[in-house]
Assembly symmetry: C2
Homo-oligomer: 335 residues x 2
């Protein structure tokens, strides 16, 4: 039934004119009664659907920011990314959910989406703000064939896909704060958390999950906790327009699928590097590297083919910065 709903929605959305009940039946191989039931359900959920005798059905308007399994599935035309969707109105955090599905054998591309998280967290255990109806939270399960040492680059691939998708949908200029945050006007709008399960003697990845949290429709800084109010923002605050989350999620998953397949070809960032560097926050600008053995200032020059950040120190020396070892802060303009 869920698939029928998504298919019927997709048919209606893609047609500018009326779609007859018979057409829907034929295309999906279901009965007239089934079509009629789904149409009624959709109406109840707030879709404005015109029914005209002998002409059929026409989708006049979708409810504002409807965010459901059917709505998302009806938009996706990916091969594997999000092909299998698990949608939760509310969950603790989509990463643990995705890991559980992965342990139970979930296929490559399986995606967990939640409207709200109650226990989201970022790198270093920092909590990630969460409220209903305002954010995108999703985690995708990947089953790569490559070895665990390549896994950290998946975070970069995801960051690139999300940054470009946001720019495409909202027109905002997005920057990637290497390795895994996305900033708009110097403030954070996206956090990415990748986790990996391996058998150490096998040098094989069992599965990898990449979780993404996007601040989308928060109206004002007051919707963020005090802890992050100065450093976080939302797409709506920055663009002045609310964003249809299902459409943005579709763009993210679609771009990620494409970029991930490019990455898989070479197992490095060589092909994607130029696009990544074009969005690198603070590129050719000052950064402060908080190395456990001492902080130093420098200028961020780009990334290597294997994903390390290249920082040029004041004395001209070029240093490769490995994620996890350090925290990089912008000296000007970003957090």
């Amino acid at each position: 039934m869920k698939t029928d709903r998504a298919d019927i929605l997709a048919c209606l959305r893609e047609s500018e004119d009326y779609v007859s009940g018979q057409q829907l039946c034929d295309r999906l191989g279901v009965s007239r009664t089934a079509v009629w039931k789904v149409i009624n359900q959709l109406k109840e959920e707030g879709y404005l659907i015109e029914s005209a005798s002998r002409r059929g059905y026409r989708l006049v308007e979708s409810p504002a920011d409807v965010y459901s399994e059917s709505e998302i599935a009806s938009r996706l035309h990916t091969k594997w990314a999000g092909k299998k969707l698990h949608f939760f109105e509310v969950t603790g955090s989509t990463n643990p959910d995705a890991k559980r599905f992965a342990e139970e054998g979930a296929l490559h591309g399986t995606t967990v989406v939640a409207d709200r998280q109650t226990a989201g967290r970022g790198r270093r255990g920092r909590s990630w703000e969460s409220s209903a109806g305002t954010s995108i939270y999703f985690t995708i399960v990947l089953r790569p064939k490559f070895s665990p040492d390549k896994a950290s680059m998946v975070t970069l691939v995801m960051a690139l896909a999300v940054a470009e998708a946001i720019s495409e949908v909202t027109g905002l200029d997005t920057g990637i704060k290497w390795p895994n945050d996305i900033v708009v006007n110097g403030k954070k709008v996206v956090g990415i958390l990748t986790e990996l399960s391996t058998m150490p003697e096998m040098n094989e990845i069992q599965f990898l999950v990449a979780g993404v949290g996007v601040n989308v429709n928060q109206n004002s800084a007051e919707e963020f906790s005090e802890e992050i109010r100065k450093t976080a923002t939302s797409l709506r605050i920055e663009s002045g327009k609310s964003v249809f989350r299902a459409a943005l999620l579709e763009r993210i998953l679609s771009r990620f699928e494409e970029d991930y397949e490019i990455f898989e070809q070479t197992l490095d960032m060589s092909v994607l590097r130029e696009r990544y560097e074009a969005r690198l926050a603070g590129r050719d600008a000052g950064v402060q590297v908080l190395d456990p053995s001492g902080a130093y200032a420098g200028v961020s020059r780009g990334i290597t083919d294997t994903g390390e950040l290249v920082v040029e120190k004041e004395n001209g020396e070029r240093v490769l910065v490995y994620a996890g070892e350090v925290s990089v802060r912008g000296l000007y303009g970003y957090v």
Copy 2:
């Protein structure tokens, strides 16, 4: 209540003479009624406990191979290994259970024990035989501070602890089939499966689980599936005596705790290597290395400080064999 049971059992076991009800109350800070209830429960489970008025209680005999949370906990004197126990009569497999507990925040040393597994598996997804009352299945959760590249050595540390514990308890001569199997008289009695959860950009381990399956009290080869009948055996088959599983598990956890702390000091096998090599199956004997790029024969000479197998080829060249890349078979005497 569970802790009371374990404590009362431990008191009774450690005393050769009667222990008065009052002594038990004082030591555990519980009421006479609570002690009385526990004693009755233990009797119902098959413990033979003598009660004599004015003298107290005396443990005459434990039921044959009693295997329960209380029985195991009452024997453990470790600092962290198995300090928190989850005992299941039956489960799919203790590794996924342990990973679930770890995701939910289980402490270092938390151990899942099952009397029976319905979905056990080894490296390369091979299934591991399972029936009630005959085997030890446990998985320990570790939260190491070291980086993921050290994790494969934990398998070696566990193999050493298990091999020595079995020899101590049964008198059998155990060999370690590098990296993660234990053999007796050329047949497999133990399999170990280590799994790791990391955040790839952080170069940190979130948790590691090490799962162990031991064939203990199988009576005859017929109890193994045909697939493994020729290559598997049990401690009972080889020693001619049944083994009290809770006592063996105690020795394993205790030895593992000790060896793991030694390993943690240097983060390599330098201190444990000699003991490991003394048990290395096929040492100075022929092995066949099934390398994906071609099989070759050689003589196993030992391990390196970082846990690789050293194989001397026929032309005298010494090769380091990394686990996961190859499968090593004995030419003579072990599988």
